[in-house]
Point group: C2
Chain length 280, copies 2
Amino acid sequence: MKIVRTVEEVRQAVRTWKAEGKTIGLVPTMGYLHEGHKSLIDRAVAENDHVVVSIFVNPIQFGPAEDLETYPRDLEKDSELCQTAGASLIFHPDPSQMYSPTFSSFINMSTLTGGLCGKTRPSHFQGVCTVVGKLFNIVEPNKAYFGQKDAQQLAVIRHMVEDLNFNLEIVGCPIVREADGLAKSSRNSYLSKDERKAALVLSQSLAIAQKMINEGERDTGKLTLAMTKHIENEPLAKIDYIEFVDWKTLEPVGLIDRPVLNAIAVYIGKTRLIDNHIYE
Amino acid sequence: MKIVRTVEEVRQAVRTWKAEGKTIGLVPTMGYLHEGHKSLIDRAVAENDHVVVSIFVNPIQFGPAEDLETYPRDLEKDSELCQTAGASLIFHPDPSQMYSPTFSSFINMSTLTGGLCGKTRPSHFQGVCTVVGKLFNIVEPNKAYFGQKDAQQLAVIRHMVEDLNFNLEIVGCPIVREADGLAKSSRNSYLSKDERKAALVLSQSLAIAQKMINEGERDTGKLTLAMTKHIENEPLAKIDYIEFVDWKTLEPVGLIDRPVLNAIAVYIGKTRLIDNHIYE
C-alpha cells in the first residue's frame, strides 16, 4: 500500500490500473478511522480490484466556529488500518494541494441541504459536494462508499451524482455501533467519561421511536415528542434537531407512510453527535 | 455517424471506445453550427480517434428575458456538417434528459463570472459550468474544444477544470470571421441587412485598439475611449461593455502590461453580439 499526497500521483496509479482493466473503489474519509470506516473499506475491497482511501480533513466543509483545528488526526494508525483491510492507496493531500490560492469553483445544491444538519451548518454541504466531486474526478472510481451514519450526506451525494452525471455507483453502508449502541464516530474521542455515558440517549431515543413504530404508531409528532422527552431527561444533552423526513427528498413528513429517515443531532457537552435510523 | 438522445447511449459508445483504447474529443455546442464550430470539430477530429459533438440549447444558461425560445435550430444541417467533418457521434438530448424534475445541483464560480457578460447575465455562467460539467461526466473526453470567441466562457471553463480536477485538456480555438471581419455567430442570423453592416463596428473597434497598441499605446482608458467613439458613431449600435481585463483572472487592467483580453459586447438593434482580441 502506498501513501501519496499529490493529485498527479493518484492519477498515475489510476492510469495504470485502468490500463489493466482493473476496477477501483473509493472510500472518502477525514481520517481518524474507526470500525465504521473499516466496514466501508472492507466492502470496497470485496467489490473492487483496487481501493483508494482518501484521508483529508476538508477545511471548506467546516464552519468558522467548528472544530477544524481540533479535529482528531492519526495518520499512522489510519495507515495500519487501511493496510490491514487491503487498500491499495491512501490519498492524503495537503489543503494547498486541493485548494489553490485562486480556487473559486463550488458544487451547490438548492434542495436537500437546507434542513437537518444544513440548518446549523449553512456551507457544510457545499464543502462536502465540492470535495467529493473533486475526489471523484481525481480517482475516477467505479464505486464510492459512504456511511449511512451521515445519512443526509449520503442522500446529497447520491443526488449530486444523479444530477451531474458522475459515472460511478454510490454504495451506502450501515451504521456501525459500539456494544452499547453508540454510533461510531471520530468525534466520540471528544467525550469525557460522563459524556460518553450520556451520549447513549441518541441511540436510545431512536430505539424508542422504532419500538413505537413497530407497535403501530405512525404520527411523527408523537414519535418526536417521545424522543424529545427521553433526551431532555439527560442533563448533559441538548437537542439540535429531531426530524422525520422523506428518505429521498429530505422533506419533513407527518406520517411514516413511505421510506423515512429519522435523523437526530444532539450536543453532548460541547460535542455535536448525530445518529439516525432509516425506515425503508 | 450516429445521433443519440440519451446519456445511456453516449455512455455505451464511450465504453466501447475506451475499451479499444481510443481517445475522445468533445465539442460542446448549442447547434446551428457555422464555420466557427466547424473549426473546433476539425481540430478535434485531427487530435482524437473519436469526436462527440453535443448539440443542446441549454435552458439554464439563458436569463428570463433572453432568446431561449427563438434561438436558431437546424439539426439536419448540423448533422451534415458534423458528418462531413468526421464526427463519430452527435449527442442531442431533450432538456428533460439533462434536467430531471428534481434537478438541483449546480457548479458555481465566485471569481471570473461577475464581470463582462456576467454583469448583465447573472446566472449565465452557472448554467454554462453546470452543463459543461455534466457533459464532461457523460462523455469523459480526453480533450474538449471551445472557441475563443466566447473568451470569458473559455477562461471560466479552464478555471473550473483546474479547480474541480476534471481529467481532461481544454483546447481553445481561434475566432473564425466572415470575409469582412464579423466574428461568426449563430446569433448573426438575427441581423437585418442594415444591422449586418452595422455589426462591423465590433471587429473594427477591436482593430482600432490593436493598431494603437502596435503603435505603442498601453493606457486602456485611452484605448477604450477610441473604441467607444467608433462604436457610438453607428446609430444601430449600443455598447454593453468595452473591457480590458487580465486574461487569467478577468480583473480589469489599466495598462497592457501582461496577457490581456480586450472583450466587447454590443447590441446591434435587439441582437447582442460579442467579440474580442487577446494580447498574449
